[in-house]
């Protein structure tokens, strides 16, 4: 056994370049798998959390008749006395923040440019709105009693060529179906690094939004953030709300997104398989070449009485060594690469997917589970790739092998 390993090791040493490159192939394959999985993990975790934080909350309470796509402002489609309900829910220990929001569809225009917008009335003081406050990059955030101030996203500002202090005309639909228009002043420009969200969402103080839409003491939804996403399922059953309202979880609210993620996940598996197949074919190729090159040597070993099984072991020992070397290289490259993207992020820009809020930058995140699974997978695939060439070597006829003289 030791002799077998020694011989295998020396054989690899004899063709160092080839051994190195085939190990490197295994290593690059593994590194790609690690990187890919950590980018996906980073994106998945990050994107859902981002969507929750910015758009859906963990839980929303709405009128059962409310249709999100229509942003209806009819009183029967809204939540009445929202502050009262929000305060009541906000008192629960698992709840970080509960705040009313009013959504209206409208558009902004400045000069001859205009853009559709999701007008969102918020309580500027609620901690649930901190991400917008913290995202202000010029000008300042809203006050509850501002009456002619709007907060707009950076992409919107760029599109309409607006600066802080500029005037902008805002029109929106009202409860009775009319259109209301008013000139506002751009008080602040924000970014959440989520192009799809920032480009569409315009904030007003809730009271001003209610006044303008004539919805008075009503909100489209109570937006609820919990201390932890995992608490969602335990909090929902304890919420008691008036009969005309319903409770929606982040899974319901991001159904499209959750589905999209599941689909992405299955595409990733196909990518994994492609990478593994490429790695396997490089290894098979290398080992077959090495079997052919050593036809004569195999003949000698066979002539002095080495059984086929043992010859197979010799070649399997070689592929194991390539696998070990490759896995070590792969772990080094993969983990370093992941660390880089974990710190610096991976810029994907505007994905242009409507209804899906993905941050512009994905931060890679490596889980131990993924690391171990991928490493084992690569190792096993490499060993399996070594099987065919090893069997080929063990089946060689000693005479045929010996005839391949110098």
């Amino acid at each position: 056994m030791i002799q077998t390993l020694k011989m295998a090791f020396r054989d690899l040493g004899r063709n160092r370049r080839r051994s190195f490159f085939s190990s490197l192939a295994v290593g690059v394959g593994l590194a790609m798998l690690i990187l890919m999985s950590s980018v996906v993990t980073g994106e998945m975790g990050g994107a859902i959390e981002n969507a929750i934080k910015l758009q859906s909350g963990h839980i929303q309470i709405r009128a059962a008749t409310y249709d999100e796509n229509k942003s209806s402002l009819k009183w029967e489609d809204l939540v009445a006395n929202p502050d009262e309900i929000a305060n009541q829910i906000g008192a629960l220990s698992q709840v970080k923040s509960a705040t009313p929001r009013l959504y209206a569809s409208g558009f902004l225009s400045s000069g001859n440019q205009s853009a559709g917008a999701k007008i969102t009335g918020i309580d500027p003081l609620s901690p649930a709105n901190d991400p917008y406050r913290e995202g202000v990059i010029s000008g300042s955030y809203l006050n509850p009693d501002d009456r002619d101030a709007v907060l707009i996203g950076k992409p919107m500002a760029e599109k309409l060529k607006l600066k802080v202090g500029d005037n902008v005309a805002l029109s929106l639909n009202t409860a009775d179906g009319n259109v209301q228009e008013q000139i506002f002043i751009v008080k602040g420009i924000y970014t959440t690094n989520t192009y799809g969200f920032d480009g569409a969402t315009v904030f007003l103080p809730l009271i001003k939004a209610q006044a303008m839409t004539q919805t008075e003491n009503h909100a489209s939804a109570i937006f609820i953030l919990l201390k932890d996403t995992a608490m969602t399922d335990t909090v929902i059953p304890v919420l008691s709300v008036p009969a005309n309202l319903e409770v929606k979880s982040w899974k319901d609210l991001n159904a499209l997104f959750v589905e999209w993620e599941a689909m992405a996940q299955s595409y990733i598996v196909i990518f994994y398989m492609i990478i593994l197949a490429i790695t396997a074919s490089v290894i098979i190729n290398t080992l077959i070449m090495s079997v052919y090159e050593r036809t004569r040597e195999i003949g000698i070993l066979s002539a002095i009485g080495m059984r086929g099984g043992r010859i197979m072991m010799l070649f399997l020992a070689e592929s194991s060594m390539l696998a070990v070397g490759g896995v070590i290289l792969g772990l080094i490259i993969g983990v370093l690469g992941t660390l880089y993207f974990n710190v610096n992020g991976f810029y994907i820009g505007n994905m242009g997917l409507s209804g899906i809020v993905i941050t512009d930058t994905i931060y890679a995140k490596l889980t131990m589970d993924n690391l171990v699974n991928l490493t084992i997978m690569t190792f096993v695939v490499t060993l399996l790739s070594g099987l065919y060439p090893a069997v080929m070597a063990s089946r060689m006829q000693p005479v045929a092998a010996l005839r391949a003289e110098k």
Binding site: M7, D11, G299, L301, G305, M306, P398, V399, L402
Partner: protein, 230 residues
Amino acid sequence: MEVVKIENVTRVYQIGKLETRALQGVNLSIASEEFTSLVGPSGSGKTTLLQMIGCLDQPTSGRVIVNGKDVTKLNRNQRADMRRENIGFIFQFFALIPTLSAYENIEMPLLLNGQGAGERKARVMELLKAVDLTDRANNRPDQLSGGQQQRVAIARALAPKPALILADEPTANLDTENGRQVMDIMQKLNKDTGVTFVFATHDPRVINYARRVVTLQDGLIEKESKPVKK
């Protein structure tokens, strides 16, 4: 005692439609302690016959009996075991494992036989001395001359104390001096240990060492002789 018995052996090589009858019904018996030379023109079947005796290849028809066992009835692994336990090989191109040192090459068959470390070491040292290569033990084949490589091959063939050693043109790639040295060693080992040697050769100087000369022609034994000179 009879080490090898060949009965009506034929070997037909088929390449596409072309049939080559390398052996056409050979009968031969080799007793233990013989020092026998197979001669004959190129293509007469010497190598093919050695491969039959050495269980490296199977005859198309006929029987090959080595050490009392019909080897034509053995499977691959059994033939490998047969070679390992009873037969040593020496080839024209030395056939050493390039990654192993002289010492390790000689040790290889002992390892395959599962001998203990102490026993192996003693045997390898003894053989290195017999072929006069003690000071080259740690050299790889590419660091040895042709003659030295062939002496390592002889030592390796002898290591497991086989009943029979088969040598195919052992001196063809050696100059006169090295060829003579190799033959001297083989002859001495034959005398000292009684191991049976069968070698195929073209080399008239080598034939002179033989005590029995079997001449092949077109896959058949044409004649047998015993050289006068010893």
